[in-house]
């Protein structure tokens, strides 16, 4: 894990930016070969917008979002999240930073099967050290906001896939993180359900002081973005509020 690189030659970050990446590269070792997946990504992501990260399979979307949310070290470059140079933190500080600032919506939800929906949604609060009943109360309130308050006492396997996803969304938002990241939220859903989830995310996840980044290659929902970043072979090739014509 190569940590901090020399970035003195790179332009500084806009202090307003929620997320700022400068000259971020990432290599993976495939046997003897080194493949470079990201080639010098410079990005500013604003709070208050729904930002889409789109691109073909293998273009490096997941790699980039992982780096932006502090779970994957860049090979080179600098990543600031709300002004904090996150890869300059110690391991435990970074974990703590994620716990307090980032909400994750995983594609496979990764709910804990043996605790009910409310407890699952309360996990970040419990991890922060909040007393369990208080954490559950907040989680139930979040589930209610997501219209599944009546499912709070059910175990994940008693819920439909869509309901499980809402529990996962509740878990990502319950501790009011300043950055929410979401990998392929609609990949497994039909068009209508996909749009409903996106409506929901827009309603609950987008806030003035919160950045929300969604990785997707689902062209059925491209129109719902405030901003679209296109990644091709590890480079950002488009940045705007629409998809470019040739996609």
């Amino acid at each position: 894990m190569g940590k901090k690189m020399d970035t003195s030659a790179i332009g500084g970050c806009n202090p307003e930016a929620a997320i700022c990446t400068r000259a971020v590269t990432r290599d993976f070792q495939a046997g003897q070969q080194t493949i470079t997946v990201l080639h010098g990504i410079d990005l500013d992501v604003k709070a208050g917008e729904l930002t889409f990260l789109v691109g073909e399979s293998g273009s490096g979307k997941t790699t980039l979002i992982s780096i932006m949310c502090g779970i994957l070290w860049p090979t080179q470059g600098e990543v600031k999240v709300f002004g904090t140079d996150i890869y300059d933190l110690s391991d435990d500080e970074l974990v703590e930073f994620r716990l307090n600032n980032i909400g994750f919506i995983f594609q496979q939800y990764n709910l804990i099967p043996s605790i009910d929906a409310a407890s699952n949604a309360a996990v970040p609060l419990i991890a922060q050290g909040m007393e369990r009943h208080e954490a559950r109360e907040k989680a139930v309130a979040m589930l209610e906001k997501l219209n599944i308050g009546d499912q709070a006492d059910k175990l994940p396997n008693q819920l439909s896939g869509g309901q499980q996803q809402r529990v996962a969304i509740a878990r990502a938002l319950v501790h009011e993180p300043r950055l929410v990241v979401c990998d392929e939220p609609t990949a497994a859903l039909d068009a209508a359900s996909g749009r409903r989830v996106m409506d929901l995310l827009r309603e609950v996840a987008v806030a003035e002081d919160r950045a929300c980044i969604i990785v997707t290659h689902d062209n059925r929902i491209f129109d719902m973005a405030d901003r679209i970043l296109v990644l091709e072979d590890g480079k950002v090739t488009h940045d705007g509020d629409h998809m470019p014509e040739d996609h």
Partner: protein, 377 residues
């Protein structure tokens, strides 16, 4: 987070019970086998324990245990009595004999002849009858193990035996610690025993000694050795000799050692496998927790809590099982007087701790190695 860890574990009953079973099984095997081992070894000292009033045992220098003794001339008694510090000294005879029951069965027995006047050498308590019955002619007292062996389900009182061609009548039952081989023991007066045991001279097996100052039995035994040329052992020394004799002359330590080792190995195997499966099943959840913001330190504590819970329940069940076993078999003469020495639960607790630390550490390694970034894959 500890609560979540516990729920993760108990929410998977199959693995949870598998883990608890593994620990309980190991605990039971280790505790129970060690208990039987220690109690059996102590049977080597039963002859000493049954004569609680003797502070020092005096014997021929070649004698080793209560059952492996070479007879001395009867003059030994007077020599011992002459040693200063000896409060009393009485003769004690122990010999093998064969009895024929009235049904015609042949049984090897131990005949123990105790001092005619004081009856020192008898077990402290009687199950039935009084020690005074020995004053009647041809009387013997049988021990309780002998009763269950020779007269299962019936009273031996009044039964006539042919003891090395001499007549003997059972008139009492003694409450005795069984010997290692659970041999039937017949107690009688010294003078009577001389009739039962063949030979004419040198039939005195031991001289039992009471010390004027029991706290200085060791010094007294040394003095007796010095002055008589005989071998003198304190109660504790002679008990230890009996135990050591069994250790040296039987395969018991090896056999029990193997079983205990198997208990440990099987525990490691069951618990290790189940623990790894459990972790593997939950690796995605652990990965998610790590991404969300649970430090490796907290993950360690979670797995430790899971191991601790399994350990507590499994260990408790295993020890309870051993207690239950001992209780259930307490009426069986083979297990008479069995108890669990306090060290044994500690040993099995240490074994359980090692099993869980080892398997928990192995299982934990894969969690700690999991990259949080894997959650997006």
């Amino acid at each position: 987070m500890i609560w979540i860890a516990i729920r993760m574990l108990t929410g998977d009953p199959q693995k949870f019970f598998g883990l608890v079973f593994g620990i309980a099984f190991s605990t039971l095997l280790i505790t129970q086998q060690l208990t039987i081992f220690v109690n059996l070894l102590e049977r080597g000292a039963s002859g000493v324990y049954n004569v609680s009033s003797a502070d020092v045992w005096v014997m021929d220098p070649v004698s080793r245990t209560t059952d492996v003794a070479y007879a001395m001339p009867s003059t030994a008694l007077d020599k011992v009595r002459g040693v200063p510090g000896v409060e009393w000294a009485v003769p004690h005879i122990r010999a093998q004999a064969s009895v024929r029951t009235k049904d015609g069965d042949l049984e090897g027995v131990a005949v123990i002849g105790v001092d005619d006047a004081t009856l020192i050498g008898l077990p402290k308590n009687m199950v039935e009858g009084s020690i005074d019955v020995l004053s009647q002619p041809d009387s013997v007292i049988i021990d309780d193990v002998g009763t269950t062996r020779m007269f299962p389900g019936q009273s031996p009182i009044g039964e006539r035996l042919e003891l090395n061609d001499q007549r003997a009548v059972i008139r009492g039952i003694a409450d005795a610690v069984p010997s290692f081989t659970s041999t039937v023991v017949l107690y009688t007066k010294y003078s009577q025993a001389l009739n039962y045991v063949p030979g004419t001279r040198n039939r005195l097996s031991f001289v039992l000694v009471g010390a004027e100052n029991p706290a200085e039995a060791k010094a007294l035994s040394e003095k007796i050795e010095e002055e008589t040329g005989l071998k003198a052992q304190t109660r504790e020394e002679f008990a230890r000799d009996g135990v050591q004799f069994i250790i040296d002359n039987t395969g018991i330590p090896l056999n029990f050692g193997i079983t205990v080792a198997l208990g440990f190995i099987v525990g490691v195997a069951i618990v290790g496998l189940t623990f790894s499966l459990f972790i593997r099943d939950n690796i995605k959840q652990f990965g998610a927790l790590k991404a969300i913001g649970v430090t490796n330190g907290k993950i360690r504590r979670m797995v430790a809590a899971q191991a601790g819970l399994v350990g507590l329940i499994g260990y408790g069940l295993g020890v309870l099982g051993t207690v239950g076993f001992i209780q259930a078999f307490s009426s069986n003469p083979t297990f008479k007087g069995f108890y669990i020495p306090w060290q044994i639960p500690l040993i099995s607790a240490a074994a359980v701790t090692i099993i869980l630390a080892l398997t928990g550490w192995l299982a934990l390694r894969s969690v700690l190695k999991t990259e949080p970034a894997s959650v997006f894959r």
